[in-house]
């Protein structure tokens, strides 16, 4: 690769590449090689396809793309020029797909997507319900290009925004454009990126940092991973534009060590960008100097908090620091240098804004939250995966139209947004248009975009306990409200879910939750009580049921309820008797029954019964003694 010295060099290179990359009439397979599809066998499919193509002497353009979104049905791939979408592809399908689609131009029915087995398959990717309502900005190149090839990125219009900025815009113009677009931080809090950039620009000192936060620790969230893995150059371009706007020379990407593929792809991409002269000194002859280093995390959730992340970059324990000084101020950032820290997805949104203008971006989404948001849709929905939708779409559309509804025809109970710091939203708010403000209004938050759907089998108290135990174990221990408060709250929840709850526990939880929220030093503690507080707000009756009736509707908590065998349903297989470790299941000549004196409510019999004849019921209230008149 030859170094590009001027903006025209880049333009010429793009022209050259476009002449022989992604030509419309060449047969092409775009195979997803993201983490999930790799796990379900994409590499084997790849070699089968390549082998098959070689055998037939067909020149087939195989593109190993980043995550295409529909992880549940992996490995997925798209065959062009017909644009046919295949899911759950197996190596043995390679032959048929070659014969039918690549050679014959018709779909191979077995591997097509179907809503259910009774319905007609849907051949075109654009008609699959999962993709129909999506609009991709941050993920625009995922599924299109090979992240390990910088030429692919340039061919689809990559670094065009940089070209435009360096060629015809001043740093202030770039900043003004991003500010006007009202791009809000995709990491969770939704602080406008333009404002943040202004602060950093205004900070004193010559040396400044641009930091990208890829420490995506929220369980159930993987949008940043997909960008880093599938389109690293759009992240670099966003960071470059930021560096140009605020006058920074050093960039840093902080990645979780749990994402080895992301670390690898970022490393390859940085090397390629440096070779082409898109990173380094005097980029494209403009005088802009910018380098990027990768910092790997080491498994601490709190390091996603900006001040803790900086501490970790400096090689310290990942303790959050009190603010002010803010990161963007002198003395606040990495090694005291003013630093602009944004989320990966935020940076990935910047190039299209600069290229197409703020007005284009303002035309998408809602008034106060323009643009799109990537959600990791998981939990008990039919189609799990990564979706990017315009802001303002309703939760119902996301869960039912894109996600395909609840698994196994169960009933929807709640959706949890924002990871451990967010809240649970009940059915009554399903028609809520999703944006930063509306979610905050109902007590949850956008968070980084995790969206976990729960059905009637999930106990809300158990879910609250789960999230709180996550925050409790990830609390760094620096400030007492978070360290001790979450511990105490967890103890109360533990008591409630094991049937030892007392009157007044709910109020105690609420009081403690408020204290932790107000007293904690950083974002982790400030938001740790959210899942508990929102579940109390919307599902108070479940808490009450646990405490007063010692009963769990969802039958998820052990140690609650009364166990009984329904004789009409029981077919006397005896598995419950075998499963019981306490000999509480007794046998008579023609029936089984549970001796309540021995039963420890461990749920072994309930889980063992193949037909669900073991019932967990509310304890019957013992009739009060009648007074003798």
């Amino acid at each position: 690769m030859e170094k590009l010295k001027t903006i025209d060099d880049l333009k010429n290179l793009r022209k050259q590449i476009s002449d022989h990359t992604f030509l419309p009439d060449v047969p092409r397979v775009r195979l997803c090689s993201g983490t999930a599809c790799t796990a379900t066998g994409a590499p084997k499919v790849l070699s089968a396809i390549e082998e098959e193509a070689a055998k037939r002497g067909i020149t087939l353009d195989v593109v190993k793309t980043g995550c295409q979104g529909l992880c549940q049905k992996g490995p997925v791939m798209k065959v062009e020029p017909e644009g046919i979408f295949y899911q759950k592809v197996k190596p043995e399908h390679a032959r048929s797909i070659m014969s039918y689609t690549v050679a014959g131009g018709i779909p191979f029915r077995q591997s097509l997507y179907r809503n259910n087995i009774l319905e007609e398959p849907i051949p075109e990717m654009t008609n699959v319900p999962f993709y129909k309502k999506q609009l991709r900005i941050a993920l625009r190149n995922n599924g299109l290009i090979d992240p390990r090839k910088i030429y692919h990125y340039i061919a689809v219009g990559g670094y065009k925004a940089l070209e435009k900025a360096l060629g015809s815009m001043s740093p202030d113009d770039v900043l003004a454009e991003v500010d006007r677009a009202n791009l809000r931080g995709r990491g969770g809090a939704g602080f406008p990126a333009g404002k943040k950039w202004k602060h950093s620009k205004g900070a004193s000192g010559k040396i400044k940092f641009v930091i990208a936060n890829g420490d995506e620790g929220d369980p159930g969230a993987f949008m940043d991973r997909s960008v880093m893995e599938g389109d690293p150059h759009s992240l670099f371009e966003g960071m470059l534009l930021c560096a140009y706007a605020i006058g920074a020379e050093y960039g840093m990407i902080y990645v979780r060590h749990e994402y080895p593929l992301a670390v690898k792809n970022l490393g390859i991409a940085i090397k390629q960008a440096e070779e082409l002269g898109l990173l380094g000194k005097n980029i494209l002859g403009s005088g802009l100097n910018f380098t990027i280093d990768i910092r790997e995390g080491a498994g601490a959730f709190v390091c996603g908090e900006s001040t803790a992340l900086v501490a970790s970059i400096e090689g310290e324990r990942g303790f959050p620091r009190p603010r002010p000084p803010r990161l963007s101020e002198h003395g606040g950032g990495a090694w005291g240098y003013p630093s602009n820290l944004n989320n990966i997805e935020t940076y990935a949104c910047v190039p299209p804004i600069v290229e197409k203008g703020a007005d284009w971006f303002l035309g998408i989404g809602t008034k106060n939250s323009p643009g799109t948001k990537v959600f990791a849709l998981t939990g008990k929905v039919v189609n799990t995966g990564l979706v990017e939708v315009p802001m303002g779409i309703t939760l119902r559309e996301i869960i039912y139209d894109i996600g395909g509804g609840i698994m196994n025809g169960k009933k929807f109970k709640a959706v949890q947004t924002g990871g451990p710091s967010g809240g649970c939203i009940p059915e009554e708010h399903l028609d809520l248009p999703v944006d930063f403000d509306s979610l905050a209004k109902v007590g949850s938050m956008m968070g980084s975009g995790g969206m976990v759907v729960m059905d009637e089998d999930n106990c809300m108290v158990d879910v609250a306990k789960y999230f709180l135990s996550f925050c409790q174990s990830e609390s760094c221990g620096k400030c007492p409200p978070c360290r001790i408060g979450t511990y105490q709250m967890l103890e109360i929840l533990e008591r409630i879910t094991t049937g030892k709850g007392e009157e007044g526990d709910i109020e105690r939880l609420e009081k403690l939750g408020k204290l932790v929220k107000e007293g904690a030093l950083c974002g982790l503690g400030n938001s740790a009580p959210n899942p508990v507080l929102t579940t109390i707000r919307y599902f108070r009756h479940e808490y009450e049921e646990h405490i007063r009736d010692k009963y769990c509707q969802a039958k998820a908590c052990s140690g609650l309820g009364v166990f009984r065998i329904e004789h009409d349903e029981c077919f006397l297989c005896g598995l419950c008797k075998q499963a019981c470790a306490f000999d509480a299941v007794k046998e008579t000549k023609d029936s089984f029954f549970i001796d309540q004196d021995y039963c420890t409510k461990c749920k072994a019999c309930y889980n063992a019964c193949p037909i669900g004849a073991v019932k967990v019921e509310k304890k019957r209230k013992t009739p009060e003694k009648q007074e003798v008149v």
Binding site: T35, A36, A39, D218, G220, F222, E258, F301
Partner: protein, 161 residues
Amino acid sequence: MKVEELNVDEKIGHVKDVLTEDQKKRGVLIHAFQSIQKEHNYLPEDVLKALAKKLDIPLAEVYSTASFYKHFYFKPRGRNVVCVCTGTACHVRGASKVLEKIEESFGIKPGETTPDLSMTLETVGCVGCCGLAPVATVNDEIIGDLNPKKAGEVIKMVEGK
């Protein structure tokens, strides 16, 4: 990685131009831990001592930093590492049952290693494969759509190695 071969300037990357010697040494600490752990599977005491000397950082502070991060270990680990994801998506799809089954089969709890050093069992917050929940990884290879029955496959994989 040999501690003597650690090149501070190279590891810290481009930012070396604006940092003092002390900042650089401190800044490579986590990098160094990662390289050491890659080689030894854990952080042995004598290597950490050598590192403390080389970087001129008190041993107590080296330990203080390393012990903060969940990813670093001070005890030898098994030849195989089974990591069960207990992230939200896996949790609601029944990760705890999978974990129980594996715990039972090997007689160890998360964070422990079998006495013959054949296997270490761990849990992780999220591996980002929520689409395949519940998920476990065996030596970084991801196995999805688990259930207690399929957990047997994981067990067999470990025993086969």
